[in-house]
């Protein structure tokens, strides 16, 4: 909301409060000031400001209230006039092209001088002819042979609005010779209104908060009116069909009003607050809405009579009938549904209750008799209507957050008064007021000790009551207990414990959060629980980083066709259930992902042209809808991806090689050993995403926990990837973390020296290395501490389909130094078993 400073000053005296300080007070109590837009006022002195300032200042010596005493034709130009202007000091001839002065041209000295905003030579203002807001400095120049060095200003040039059709004509009482900033300088504070503070979406509400925070008294606008016209009774009927939806409806009438522009200062205020001035009737409804927060609606009474066929019109509030339509003020035909509350008459809908009026009963230039509506509506119903029609209006904004029914009457009275002030006419005697569903203003009792226990303060009952009284709660103190009655402009205070919390917020924010002490937690430490899996997950993350991998954090939202790319084209058509997003931001992200592998491959695709080495991992959830369950299963997964160079190239000229299957296996082995998982097996396996000969399932015990391998060439072709093969692995996190051990056995460091020797055996090609290792271990028994493959050799002299595997063997005994004889015995046993079980020969 845009809050002009001068408007606030109507209700609370803040002369001694600087602009910066005022904005700070407002921000601290919850009216966050986003920006301060200067409209004439100077920027506060000092280097440091806590707010963003925009706009234009009007220096006192450059911008003056002046009067034009005579408008004369320009000798050489039809579209220019010369004004004999008095700025209080001297008389100057000022050149202008403002069309709204043409009428005065050549009429000789004016009986009633025109009051204008005058800018002297050297003034900095906005260029009226440039689009947007562009600063310019007034310089002396000749226009069509006439000297020009100063200017009569339009609203645009002064930064009040974008209006540049004519110059500003100030109200007649504007004092000639006064600096313009003193007469109408202003600053507009743009405030973020919190959803629970719609009571402050008006000037009086903002002023009330300032008054409460500063202790300065609040003064209400005078709404005393003279109802000297004919009684309204009998000239309009009113029926409320559903008091739940329409708790109160108030009507007043003014007759014989002239539809004319409002006074200039009213129009300026409306402009600054962000509303376009229309005429004195519409302006009055808008002005009072901005003043009190109560939206109002003006009907042309005579058009209602005409709709009623000349009879007494009847206003009926009811929900729409199926298929009913209404052309709203914005000239759009709206189709209404039976949930929408309407204001109607016997001829049909007049307006959408609390949202927007209809075109037909709109006040026009020829209207004379105005029927004014002030009503109260159910905020949920208004919210539904606003969201269904996607129709945002100032009224809808307020009513959809809740307006107290008491404001209906206050609004009507004040608005009738404003209309009369600005357009004349006679106010009809009496109001038509139906209030079938009175608002109960909660009475809440709270004790000072409870307040202090909740806040950590030491406030006395009187202090608490004082704060609440400033917000217009009626307070009674009885010992420690303050009983409060909610003021009749608030619908956000509840009964009972919730009401106490509501009041606690009021007390604390007005008292000031900065005055509440800061303390450390007083409560005993809650029972400490260990989440074993989370502990292991952190460990796993660190482990993978230690293994040289870069962690990823990725989007959960994707598209099925994006994920399908992880399969070869022929395998893609599998129908799978996704958790689908109803209102996706783009079709590219319309479901929750099912595959962490798909995410990984997209990230590799994105990066493979950016780096010749990628070593990546992600830990994150995938989402699998489950039939019969409302929520999907969120399964935590781990992905690992490797591609490109094994090492980064260096200037020393060693040619780095590209990574292969065994780099991936090394990472996984490193991970498993880091997690102290022993029972790991790798089993050749097929998986649609992977190369059938270069992929494996990873098992812990008998359970498959993951899959790893080289990306299938057909899958790789689905992505724009670089030449080196891509290796990927995918694990379910939970079995991995459950198998991991925080505690594990540490073997004693051997005291006696080990015996090391090599063993090379020749076996058939189809015998796997782990099979050979297994037999070696079996033969070696306890004495054999370690077996490590260090070479694989294939050659003619070994024969067809044969290979040689060479191992380092480490023998050790915990209690003695092994003798050669002992070692030989074990070695022979190994050789014998290899020969028996694998038909292996010792390589000579």
């Amino acid at each position: 909301m845009n809050v002009p400073l001068t408007w606030i000053k109507d209700y609370v005296d803040i002369e001694d409060l600087g602009l910066e300080e005022l904005a700070k007070v407002m921000t601290m109590v919850g009216l966050e000031v986003d920006e301060i837009h200067l409209v004439g006022m100077p920027k506060p002195a000092g280097e440091k400001h806590e707010f963003k300032y925009t706009g234009l200042s009007w220096p006192k010596d450059k911008f003056i209230v002046a009067q034009v005493d005579e408008v004369m034709p320009h000798p050489n130009a039809d579209r220019l006039v010369l004004c004999r202007l008095n700025d209080g000091d001297e008389e100057i001839i000022v050149l202008t092209g403002a069309p709204n002065l043409y009428d005065y041209r050549g009429k000789g000295p004016l009986e009633k001088p025109l009051k204008v905003a005058y800018a002297r030579e050297g003034a900095v203002l906005y260029d009226g002819h440039e689009p947007g807001r562009k600063l310019t400095t007034l310089k002396r120049m000749k226009i069509r042979g006439v000297d020009s060095f100063s200017m009569i200003c339009s609203e645009k040039e002064l930064g009040i609005s974008d209006e540049h059709e004519g110059v500003i004509l100030l109200d007649d009482d504007a004092p000639t010779g006064t600096p313009l900033v003193d007469y109408m300088g202003d600053a507009v504070l743009s405030v973020d209104t919190l959803p629970n503070m719609v009571r402050d979406a008006c000037m009086l509400g903002v002023a009330r908060e300032i008054s409460a925070a500063t202790g300065k008294p609040l003064s209400y606008p005078d709404d005393q009116i003279q109802m000297t016209g004919k009684s309204l009774a009998g000239r309009i009927d009113l029926k409320i069909q559903d008091p739940e939806l329409n708790p109160r409806f108030v009507l007043g009438m003014i007759e014989g009003i002239a539809i004319q522009p409002s006074p200039y200062w009213i129009r300026r205020r409306l402009n600054l607050a962000g509303m376009r001035p229309i005429n004195c009737v519409v302006d009055a409804t808008n002005y009072v809405m901005l003043e009190l927060g109560q939206p109002l609606h003006a009907f042309d009474y005579d058009s209602l009579v005409a709709r009623a066929g000349g009879e007494t019109p009847t206003i009926i509030t009811r929900t729409a009938k199926q298929g009913e339509t209404l052309v709203t003020l914005d000239d759009i035909e709206r189709t209404l549904d039976p949930e929408m509350e309407l204001v109607t008459d016997t001829a049909g809908p007049l307006s959408i209750a609390g949202v927007m009026g209809g075109e037909e009963s709109e006040v026009g230039g020829s209207s004379e008799n105005i029927l004014l509506e002030g009503a109260s509506w159910n905020f949920i119903n208004v919210r539904k209507t606003v969201s269904k029609l996607k129709l945002n209006s100032e009224a809808g904004y307020r009513f959809s957050r809740g307006i107290h029914p008491a404001m209906s009457e206050k609004g009507v009275r004040l608005c009738l008064k404003r209309m009369q002030e600005w357009g004349g006419g006679v106010i009809a005697e009496g109001l038509v007021d139906k209030y079938p569903n009175p608002q109960v203003d909660p009475v809440v009792a709270l004790s000072a000790s409870w307040v202090n226990d909740s806040l950590g303060t030491a406030l006395k009952p009187g202090e608490i009551a004082e704060i609440l009284s400033r917000l217009e709660f009626e307070c009674d103190i009885d010992g420690d207990v303050i009983t409060t009655k909610t003021p009749s402009h608030r619908v956000d205070i509840h009964d009972g414990i919730i009401g106490r919390a509501d009041l606690l917020e009021e007390v604390s924010r007005i008292y000031g959060y900065d005055r509440i002490p800061a303390r450390r937690l007083n409560q005993p430490l809650p029972p400490q629980k260990v989440d074993q899996l989370m502990l292991m997950e952190d460990k796993l993350r660190e482990l993978l980083v230690d293994l040289g991998l870069q962690e990823l954090v990725a989007y959960r939202m994707t598209a099925p066709e994006r994920e399908a790319r992880r399969f070869p084209p022929d395998d893609m058509a599998t129908e799978v259930a996704y958790l689908e997003i109803q209102n996706p931001i783009t079709v590219e992200r319309r479901v929750m992902r099912r595959s962490i592998l798909a995410t990984l491959l997209e990230i590799i695709e994105y990066n493979c042209s950016l780096s010749n080495r990628l070593v990546l991992f992600e830990i994150g959830p995938v989402f699998h809808p489950i039939t019969g369950k409302q929520l999907p299963e969120e399964k935590m997964m781990l992905s690992i991806g490797l591609t490109g160079l094994r090492e980064m190239p260096s200037w020393q000229g060693d040619q780095p090689t590209t990574m292969d299957f065994y780099d991936m296996k090394g990472v996984i082995e490193g991970m498993m050993s880091g997690l102290h998982i022993d029972e790991v097996q790798y089993r050749a396996a097929t998986h649609p995403s992977f190369h059938p000969g270069k992929s494996a399932e990873v098992l812990i015990g008998d359970d498959i926990v993951g899959v790893m391998g080289e990306l299938h060439p057909l899958v790789k072709a689905n992505y724009e990837m670089a030449e080196p093969p891509v290796y990927a692995a995918e694990f379910e996190l939970e079995p991995l973390l459950k198998a991991g051990r925080i505690l594990f056995d540490v073997e004693a460091v051997p005291t006696y020296p080990p015996v090391l020797e090599d063993l090379a055996v020749v076996v058939d090609e189809d015998i796997t290395a782990d099979r050979v290792e297994e037999v070696i271990k079996k033969g070696g028994g306890e004495t054999l501490a370690k077996v490590q493959l260090f070479d694989i050799y294939r050659g003619k002299q070994l024969g067809e389909s044969k290979k040689s595997l060479a191992f380092n063997l480490t023998y050790i005994a915990p209690d003695r130094t092994l003798t050669d004889k002992e070692v030989l015995k074990v070695r022979n046993k190994i050789i014998r078993l290899l020969n028996e079980e694998l038909d292996a020969e010792l390589r000579s």
Partner: protein, 347 residues
């Protein structure tokens, strides 16, 4: 006697010849040749020892002693020379073995945590030190957990504060904040006291731009117990913020509104980019919003299984992406989930 003098003279001769030869040796590798020549088996001084048998019995001890002295003198001269030459060789080597230290080192590749995980880790450790425990809760939630249990019944105006992704499953949405985790933790612990933090991904319907993301990380903080006060919330969050942003960080709490807390507040920290003088990052205010907080609303306590007449608590929620963005002056929030390796490897 003449034999004796002669012999001694001969020894002196041997010694001076050898020492003279040693002076000539200038390279370490020539020392061995000198040793063989002058102290080796067939050297002159060793010859004296081997000819000892032919000597007069009375002379033998005397000569033995003299020959030994010569040998020892030569040995220590050798040792000394060795030292001198070694020192010279080292000096020379040090003088000539000059590397170009400006050449780049051999590339060692290290792993890294994602920047968001790193920042989250710092936050978790700070709260961990204060006795907070980490919990996780689902990213896909029911409408009830995301809104209703947090005091936002259907059509509550505050629901507008979150632009929500709904799913095609009735009543299921992508959580817009980590706050539903409050209910999960409370229901698991009631009526025990709670000190918990809940990190996690959250999702909001926003137009993707350099400033706004549809997915981002948050941390929720929750304390529940008897007589937990606003003052303790302020103290705890200030302690946290000072550890995260520095001892001297300027902090302020100002009034705000969240449906699930009352009173509610925003905590601002003095802008760490401009130091408070105003810059585009802090929108010229000198302050950056870092977290929202407040006393847990009675309705929320009740949904969580705690009697609001007995228990109270506070909660806070902070976005990780935005504060990381501001801290490192990152130009585009989308970098975090784009995973461009050139971005990630800077952390």
């Amino acid at each position: 006697m003449a034999e004796k003098e002669q012999a001694i003279e001969k020894l002196e001769q041997i010694k001076s010849t050898a020492l003279a030869a040693l002076v000539e040796v200038s390279r370490e590798e020539d020392l061995e040749a000198w040793r063989v020549a002058h102290l080796g088996r067939s050297s002159a001084v060793m010859g004296v020892f081997s000819s000892m048998g032919k000597m007069d019995k009375d002379l033998r001890p005397l000569m033995g002693k003299a020959a030994n002295e010569v040998r020892q003198a030569l040995e220590s001269a050798l040792e000394e020379k060795q030292g001198v030459l070694a020192e010279q060789a080292l000096k020379k080597a040090l003088a000539t073995e000059q590397l170009d230290v400006t050449l780049p080192g051999r590339p060692v590749t290290r792993g890294r945590l994602h920047p968001l995980t790193q920042v989250l880790g710092r936050i978790t450790r700070i709260f961990g030190d204060m006795g907070f425990q980490v919990y996780r809760s689902p990213e896909v939630e029911t409408d009830d957990y995301n809104f209703t249990y947090l005091n936002m019944p259907p059509y509550h105006p505050a629901r507008d504060m979150w632009d929500t992704f709904y799913t095609k499953t009735d009543g299921v949405l992508l959580r817009t904040h980590t706050s539903p985790g409050q209910i999960h933790v409370m229901r698991e612990h009631a009526p025990e006291p709670i000190r918990a933090i809940l990190p996690g991904a959250t999702m909001r319907y926003e137009q993707l731009s350099a400033r706004s993301e549809i997915e981002f990380a948050q941390v929720e903080v929750l304390v529940v117990g008897e007589k937990v006060t606003f003052a303790e919330m302020k103290g705890t969050l200030e302690d946290f913020a000072k550890r995260l942003f520095g001892e001297d960080a300027r902090l302020r709490l100002r009034a705000s509104h969240f449906p699930f807390t009352e009173p509610s507040a925003e905590m601002d920290v003095g802008c760490f980019v401009c130091g408070g003088t105003g810059c585009p990052v802090c929108k010229e205010t000198g302050w950056l919003e870092i977290l929202g907080c407040g006393m847990v609303h009675p309705v929320v306590l009740e949904y969580g299984g705690y009697d609001p007449e007995v228990y109270s608590g506070f909660a806070a929620g902070m976005g990780i992406d935005r504060s990381t963005l501001m801290r490192y002056r990152i130009d585009d929030i989308r970098h975090f989930r784009n995973n461009d390796i050139r971005f990630l490897k800077q952390f």
